[in-house]
């Protein structure tokens, strides 16, 4: 991609015949509409504390001599309705970095009575927020004078990005406050040739079609844009907020199908040498797969080799310092990677691909997107979002995906960010899309086994064993990489307390094995002092011990965004509780099941020993069955209800009644 932009800049510098003078930045303000000054309530969102009446941004690529640059001119007018709006909107920081200049700042406040307070130039501060050697992040900062509820504030500035073009830049339509009108004016670099053109792609919103104005700007607008708010379990930000991707591309009309064919072929060509077979690779593949009877066994061995014998230099577990990484030479081939026993994530994947090829498999590089950034749509013919890769290997008739560079990903899985996506499998002739696997809820399970004893004072005490698989295990192991054992233990203790409330946790033992083929486990001794509630003659015991202190997942009644869970999961609990002597269960019942069909199910089983001295409680829950991890906002009440009902059932208690002894009877 860098090569493309360099080519483009050279091309433009050479062929451009017209030098553009910078448009004088107007310091005159547009007239204030008295209706806006009189406005008492927001238009877009009724409870907004402030609302932008308009926000206009001119984006222009131009030449300064031979040097290209992007100039962005922002002009925003905001109506302040409340003190909160005053607090949040009247202090402005415009951040900028090296090779960027902020000029022509102007700002003013129009008081509710129409009095205008201009920002004086000495009230604009240029501060270095942070600098390191020659790299600087600076800010132009100012506070608007005299702001009060009812005021209108407006400000504008010019941002000049030197030596760059608007090449894959993301333009926003949403702010922290609602906006009545957002308008972009876009002017590409004038070019005499027809080779390149500026393009834009709008996401997640209804922007108006581009129209050309008299000054040569293409304009697009969006009206009544609500404020952006984050919510728990929401899709990635760039899949929900409206924005535009601005970029340059060769001027040719190409259909997506054709485009992906070209990209897939190009990828194949570019990666061919990096996956090159050599005698060394062949020998290694032969020795590694010797005696393996099935394709799966062979591939597992190759993955294991890549994970255990080659150090991923960017992995936290590598323990390499930055200085050591910098000293390392670049691996130019799989042979280099074998020799050095270390490499980047890509080096490791290329090595795996070449070993697989040497072992007789068809192995290719597959380009995938990252669904923690955005949901990929192949109808958009550009590879901007295919920013990561895995290795696709053909086994029988199906393509399987491997990522040996991610050392904690179990076989048959990918990192959740890459699961369930269209992957472009490279090919010299006919590249194609294949969907990456999507791990079911049975793959990512948290299991808890516990044997407890309850005392008549309500103290619950016993031993617990916890086991994580799938994506849970990946996350836990990555945390362990980051932290010391002591810190990891501290975090586990905190997480136990979040589940059970105040408790004493002792004898915590963690299996620190980093073997991705095994579950991540730990065990501990737990004592919860006031677990069961005691009344005069009864003890009330919540069966779902590990949900004792759970907070509701979705306490909010309203929802803005769709719901999106990173991956499906299951929870399995198996508890035995020895009851205190002198107490017996009083017609105990199990929590009721919650059935949401394929999506989610909650069920429990309550059993007890014949003599009634012990109870056995099994709890089972899963969510995301059938790959259902995305739900439109309209389904919020139903999803909320599932979690509310589960929590309600988890709070279910049984009664233990004190047995009346003969002595008590006598009294």
């Amino acid at each position: 991609m860098m090569k493309c932009i360099k080519t483009l800049i050279v091309f433009v510098a050479f062929f451009a015949t017209m030098l553009f003078t910078t448009e004088a930045f107007a310091t005159d303000w547009r007239p204030i509409d008295p209706a806006h000054l009189a406005l008492k309530a927001p238009v877009v969102e009724k409870d907004a504390d402030a609302e932008a009446i308009f926000w206009e941004i001119k984006v222009q690529d131009e030449l300064d001599g031979d040097t290209p640059r992007t100039v962005l001119q922002n002009y925003i007018r905001i109506k302040v309705f409340t003190d909160r709006g005053k607090e949040s909107q009247s202090k402005i920081d415009i951040l900028y970095r090296n090779r960027t200049r902020i000029t022509d700042i102007a700002a003013r406040t129009i008081k509710p009575d129409g009095k205008v307070l201009e920002l004086k130039s000495d009230a604009i501060f240029d501060k270095t927020v942070v600098s390191l050697n020659k790299i600087k992040v600076k800010a132009k900062s100012f506070a608007l004078p005299g702001v009060e509820p009812g005021s209108i504030i407006e400000y504008k500035w010019r941002e000049v990005r030197d030596d760059r073009l608007a090449y894959y830049i993301r333009l926003q339509f949403q702010r922290d406050i609602p906006v009545q009108l957002v308008k972009y004016y876009i002017k590409p670099l004038p070019m005499t040739s027809n080779v390149y053109e500026m393009r834009y792609k709008a996401f997640n919103g209804q922007t108006s079609p581009l129209t050309l104005d008299r000054e040569g700007y293409s304009t697009t607008t969006m009206t009544n844009v609500p404020a952006f708010r984050e919510e728990k379990y929401m899709p990635p930000e760039y899949s929900v907020r409206p924005w535009i991707l601005l970029y340059y591309k060769e001027r040719k009309d190409i259909k997506p199908e054709q485009y992906w064919l070209e990209v897939g072929k190009k990828t194949f060509d570019e990666t061919k040498s990096k996956m090159k077979l050599s005698d060394e690779v062949r020998k290694l593949a032969t020795s590694l797969t010797e005696g393996a009877s099935t394709p799966d066994e062979k591939l597992d061995r190759l993955v294991q080799f890549c994970r255990t014998k080659v150090k991923n230099i960017y992995d936290d577990a590598s323990s390499l310092t930055e200085a050591e990484i910098e000293k390392m030479k670049e691996n130019k081939s799989p042979e280099d990677t074998i020799k050095r026993g270390a490499g980047t994530g890509s080096d490791i994947n290329y090595l795996f691909a070449s070993l697989a090829t040497a072992a007789g498999f068809d192995a290719r590089l597959a380009r995938v997107s990252d669904r923690s950034d955005i949901f990929f749509d192949k109808a958009f013919a550009d590879d901007y979002f295919l920013n990561t890769s895995d290795i696709a290997v053909k086994v029988g008739d199906e393509w399987r995906f491997y990522d040996p560079s991610s050392r904690y990903v179990p076989q048959g899985m990918l990192r959740w960010q890459e699961e369930g996506l269209e992957a472009l499998v490279s090919d010299p002739k006919q590249p194609f899309f294949v969907r990456t696997p999507f791990s079911s809820h049975q793959k990512s399970v948290v299991k808890k086994n516990a044997k407890f004893k309850l005392t008549e004072e309500g103290v619950l005490e016993g031993d617990v064993k916890v086991e994580y698989t799938g994506h849970f295990a990946i996350e836990k192991r990555e945390e362990l990489d980051e932290n010391s054992l002591e810190q990891s233990e501290k975090e586990i203790r905190a997480s136990i307390r979040r589940q059970v409330g105040e408790a004493e946790i002792s004898d915590l033992k963690m299996d620190t094995s980093l073997d991705a083929t095994k579950p991540f486990t730990y065990s501990y001794h737990l004592r919860i002092p006031a677990y069961a509630q005691r009344t005069g003659k009864r003890l009330f015991v919540q069966l779902a011990v590990f949900s004792k202190a759970d907070e509701p997942v979705f306490p909010e009644s309203n929802r803005i965004h769709p719901l999106y869970f990173p991956y499906p999961w299951s929870e399995e609990e198996d508890l035995t509780i020895e009851l205190p002597a002198g107490f017996k269960m009083d017609s105990p019942t199990a929590p009721k099941p919650v059935n949401a069909g394929e999506i989610s199910q909650y069920s429990t089983k309550l059993m007890y020993t014949k003599d009634g001295s012990k109870l056995i409680f099994k709890r089972s829950f899963f969510f995301g069955g059938g790959g259902s991890i995305f739900f439109p906002q309209s389904m919020y009440p139903q999803i909320k209800q599932i979690f509310d009902l589960v929590q309600q059932q988890d709070k279910h208690t049984i009664t233990l009644k004190q047995e009346v002894t003969s002595q008590q009877e006598g009294n």
């Binding site: 003190d83 927020v129 390191l132 009060e148 306490p555 009902l645």
Partner: protein, 655 residues
């Protein structure tokens, strides 16, 4: 802020390596200190923490700081950093160097190209206060030793210095050395430790402590500045010295007078101020009404901080009152100063009052120094008549200045007549030309900060619940709920209330949220319902918790030993839950009523059945107190019982 943090992280990653170099002798020597150090409970050990200040005859000083830390476990990497605050215009860094002794991998050296320079106050529109930061944590692993040395030159504002002998980490050697021209002398005060006597050699004084144990983090513990050994030093030129630049203080009245000279001219009311004041107090009939009108206006002035010329006293000098009024924004001293000017225009005298915000125990009487303060409020001189007609909660009597009404115009949620809790009980200095002294700030009575909660609820035969919560919050309790309601948007406030109710009532649907705020009291009314609150058992029992809602911030003290005192915030919480019981049920069991008395508070509950209602009352009283370690078990039992009582169930049985 997120953006700034991200940028800092990106920049940190771009730190480049330098060639290996021998560490200096002092660091090599410090490295030997920690050879036998063992403590698996701490992330790192400080081998050396040392600062040397050399004062010249002209008042200029050269400061050198040396520091060495050994990383013991992974988390200790975070301590392989340097953070050196400085003032942009008046401090000059002569040298900054860092070394990482990597054991067998050699030594990595860091020079000034590796040092981040960043603003110390990113939220200020502008500030001269900056920080030099060196972060070697990414290069560090367990067992490595990180050290740094920096040297600055500056002409300080005061002939004073303070030195914290340690932070939280164990520290093997901590030393502060002050070297002055011949004939100069220094006086020191020690905090949080027995008096540390300096070793004096000529005009060089050295204070030193060794083998300081770690200060562990414990919940509800005092601030680290109340625990770490600290040194406060004032030094005095010789009588023949020609230096006049920096100030040395012998007494609080000198500090007060110095501040007065810096601030007084900024509070002269001009015609703009006078006109505004006339408008504000037009309807005010009494002195207190005039003060209130002005106070409320100044509270509404937007808090915005612009700190320029800090090295020349700018951090203590407010912008002129007229400028602040015109811009309608300012920081704490700007707002207090504007209020002073406005009161003057109304014919009422007042004084700026400097204080430390955030820790009432921070300011110590033994060290007269402006450096002990970080905040500015106001003391308004009031007449006896005003005193007699008020509750007197925030009035202090000064022997020279008379009755003073204390007020913080920066805290927009604490009305006149009240004082933010983190300032109550603290020392504050009255700024006056000749009558300034250190005053102990008032502590408002518990009942003025009470919370009254009434819950009217109806329990259905199926366990459903309809409830109305009515709260009346007073004083500082009102401030915390007021702050939440004012700072959060309407949507976010609703979410906060829903989260609160749902903590105890699963699946609750909130149908109404009403608030009313008359500044002296904050009222909240919430209606909600839930389909299943009580649990039906065996089709005959109905079990539920009478404490339908609980406070979000309950004190929870963990098991185990305790090393530090427990800091308790004052609470006076009175609750009454009236729960209409479902037809066809009668009470089978109720929780036992509780009555607990402790030196730091009391708690009592009661349960009554009357006219088909279960009436549950509770009253929690906690004094603002520092509870000693010896009382920790008692404090833990007290708060465990309080929490358990909110969980206690009532049992109804079908008739």
């Amino acid at each position: 802020m997120k953006t700034i943090l991200l940028i800092c992280i990106l920049l940190l990653f771009s730190i480049t390596a330098s060639a290996s170099d021998e560490p200096p002798a002092w660091l090599q020597q410090a490295a030997t200190f920690g050879k036998n150090f063992e403590n698996s409970r701490v992330p790192a050990v400080v081998l050396l923490k040392e600062q040397t200040v050399v004062v010249n005859e002209d008042g200029k000083q050269t400061t050198t700081e040396r520091y060495a830390v050994k990383v013991l476990i992974k988390e200790g990497r975070a301590y392989a950093t340097m953070s050196a605050p400085y003032l942009l215009e008046t401090t000059k860094f002569k040298e900054i160097k860092g070394w990482l002794i990597q054991g067998s991998s050699g030594v990595k050296k860091y020079n000034k190209e590796s040092v981040l320079d960043l603003t110390a106050a990113p939220n200020d529109v502008y500030s001269d206060v900056r920080v030099k930061k060196l972060d070697a944590s990414d290069d560090t692993t367990t067992g490595m030793i990180f050290g740094y040395e920096w040297t600055t030159e500056e002409k300080p504002l005061f002939n004073q210095a303070d030195w914290h002998f340690q932070n939280r980490l164990p520290t093997l050697l901590s030393r502060f050395t002050l070297s002055m021209p011949s004939g100069w002398r220094a006086e020191s005060v020690t905090f949080n430790h027995q008096k540390i006597e300096p070793v004096v050699s000529g005009s060089t004084y050295t204070w030193e402590l060794r083998d300081l144990p770690p200060i562990e983090r414990e919940s509800a513990s005092p601030s680290v500045s109340s625990l770490t050994p600290r040194l406060a030093i004032t030094y005095f030129p010789s009588s023949s010295s020609r230096t006049t630049a920096a100030a040395s203080f012998n007494s609080w009245s000198e500090v007060s007078s110095w501040l007065y000279q810096l601030t007084e001219s900024q509070s002269l009311p001009d015609e703009t101020i006078k006109t505004k004041v006339r408008l504000l107090i037009a309807d005010a009939k009494t002195e207190i009404e005039k003060i209130r009108a002005i106070a409320t206006f100044v509270q509404s002035v937007h808090y915005i901080s612009i700190q320029t010329g800090v090295g020349r006293g700018g951090g203590y000098r407010p912008h002129s009152a007229t400028e602040v009024l015109n811009k309608s924004y300012g920081d704490c001293k700007d707002k207090a100063n504007l209020m002073k000017a406005m009161l003057k225009a109304a014919g009422i005298n007042s004084y700026l009052l400097v204080i430390y915000s955030g820790d009432p125990n921070y300011v110590r009487m033994e060290w007269p120094s402006p450096q002990q303060f970080n905040h500015c409020i106001i003391a308004v001189k009031i007449t006896e008549n005003t005193v007699e007609n008020s509750d007197g909660a925030t009035i202090v009597k000064d022997s020279k200045l008379g009755q003073l009404l204390i007020f913080d115009p920066t805290d927009e949620y604490t009305p006149l007549g009240d004082l933010p809790d983190h300032e109550q009980g603290s020392y504050a200095l009255v700024v006056s030309n000749d009558s300034g002294s250190l005053l102990r700030m008032p502590v408002t009575p518990l009942e003025l900060n009470r919370l009254e909660r009434e819950v009217e609820a109806s329990l259905g035969v199926d366990g459903s619940l309809n409830a109305t919560v009515r709260e009346k919050a007073f004083g500082q309790t009102a401030v915390s709920v007021r702050r939440e309601s004012k700072q959060l948007s309407k949507a976010d406030y609703r979410i906060a209330i829903e989260q609160w109710i749902n903590r105890t009532v699963n699946g609750a649907k909130v149908s109404k949220i009403d608030t009313k705020d008359d500044r002296s009291r904050f009222d909240l009314e919430v209606d909600f319902n839930a389909s299943r609150y009580g649990q039906i058992m065996q089709d005959r029992l109905l079990v539920f918790k009478p404490a339908v809602v609980v406070n979000l911030s309950q004190v929870a003290l963990p098991e185990g030993g305790r090393k530090q005192a427990v800091v308790l915030d004052a609470q006076d919480q009175r609750e009454e839950f009236r729960i209409k019981l479902p037809e066809g049920f009668e009470v089978d069991e109720l929780p036992d009523a509780i009555k607990i008395e402790a030196p730091f508070g009391s708690y009592k509950t009661s349960y009554t059945i009357k006219n088909g209602y279960l009436i549950y009352t509770s009253h929690l009283l906690v004094k603002s107190a520092m509870v000693g370690v010896e009382l920790y078990p008692a404090a833990k039992t007290f708060f465990d019982k309080v929490r358990a009582s909110t969980q206690a169930p009532a049992v109804l049985v079908r008739k």
